[in-house]
Amino acid sequence: MDRSGAWPSAFCYRVLWALNLKSLKYEYLEEDLANKTDLLLQYNPVYKKVPVLVHGGKPISESLVILEYIEETWPQNPLLPQDPYDRAMARFWAKFGDDKDSEEPSFMAIFIIVGEEQEKAAKEAKEQLKILEEQALGEKKFFCGNRIGLTDIALGWIAGWLDVIEEAAGLNLLEAESFLRLHAWIQRFKEVPGIKEQLPDRHEMLIYYKQKREMFIAS
């Protein structure tokens, strides 16, 4: 089984985390997104994007679709609860982070906006984070309950990427005093074996996102 990924894509990390949590062996192929390989174009002709999981020669793309595939193919260390309602809620919240309102920029794009638009986007982002903290996480240890699950993996960008993006964009969205529970979850998430060893280097990420932001602002 091999995986095509491009650092530091949060979507690729979702798949890596799931594979690690299930103790699965895989081969990792790094893609240069500026120079896509024929293999990637062959395996994901529709979107030409990473991540792509190839298992038994068959490719699967779209990170959440890949996560469900991994869960169904390797049932050990389940990432989804048993109960259908809880599973549905896990899926609902996993999607919540991704769904883009066509009018508003998605979370990850916040760092490329400036001025008034950024203020508006920041306010929206904080509201979304509030919803996640109060309704999705609540008093639980992880989004999926007592153990890490699919929703936690899907929202893992909050743990590894958000603070870097905030710093690169000069924003403070996830204030510690206002988001006690999310901050506690971030600490817990980063300590989970399988996640801990697979977090992108913060320093390198900061350089990357700062550069990207400058590029966008300049254009």
Binding site: I60, Y69, A88
Partner: protein, 226 residues
């Protein structure tokens, strides 16, 4: 007020394709449910209580517990009522079905909406994009009768509504969306799917939908001018 005990309640809107595909899932599974019409744009207290996050229909309430997001709801229905499975058994085929449903929702539907709501060059581009994306979707049929194989399944009910809405939208907006020459297989599939009795009987009344579509288009055109 909290749904019908152990039963199933669906909060929907007659002109919503997202509610429709949940109805199709319930019908295929022969699930008895109570239907509650939301009189949009007004939202009932029940809707706001059951979907506080997105405040949208469809919402399925089962044993008092609400669920939102139509594809999440359809997967839930498939897991709770196991007969007449909607998703295939094999994980790889399940992944493909989910992939294409997502593709249709994220690539075809917004293009269709833009082709419907924009004018001029923007409209032309959007319609072109829609036709190309439908061509891409057609490849997922892989020569089968339905996306689900010999019988309809998850992907058929996830995307089948597009055939009905696109035909109406193209008539009202005056731009070609379903190009039968470009997508011969998909066109045949749209037709066959929408003619199936269990599917057809749930469609909103076509004359009412056409009037509603014309009304909506008028509003959008006026808003575009101001």
């Amino acid at each position: 007020m909290a749904g019908n005990g152990d039963g199933v309640t669906l909060l929907g809107y007659w002109a919503s394709p997202y509610a429709l595909r949940v109805i199709w899932a319930l019908k295929l599974k022969e699930v008895h449910y109570e239907y509650r019409e939301e009189h949009l744009p007004d939202k009932s207290p029940m809707l706001l209580q059951y979907n506080p996050v997105h405040k949208k229909i469809p919402v399925l309430v089962h044993k008092g517990k609400p669920l939102a997001e139509s594809l999440v709801i359809i997967e839930y229905i498939d897991e709770v009522w196991k007969h007449n499975p909607l998703l295939p058994q094999d994980p790889y085929h399940r992944a493909k079905a989910r992939f294409w449903a997502k593709f249709a929702d994220e690539k075809c539907v917004p293009a269709m909406f833009r082709a419907f709501s924009k004018v001029g060059e923007e409209q032309v581009q959007a319609a072109k994009e829609l036709r190309e994306n439908l061509k891409t979707l057609e490849s997922a049929l892989e020569g089968k009768q339905y996306f689900g194989g010999e019988t309809i399944g998850f992907l058929d009910i996830a995307v089948g509504w597009i055939g009905c809405w696109a035909r109406m939208n193209e008539e009202v907006a005056g731009v070609n969306m379903i190009d039968a020459e470009m997508i011969p297989l998909l066109s045949v599939w749209f037709q066959k799917f929408l003619e199936l009795p269990i599917i057809k009987e749930c469609l909103p009344p076509q004359d009412k939908l056409l009037a509603h579509t014309k009304e909506f288009h008028k509003m959008l055109m006026m808003a575009a001018l101001t």
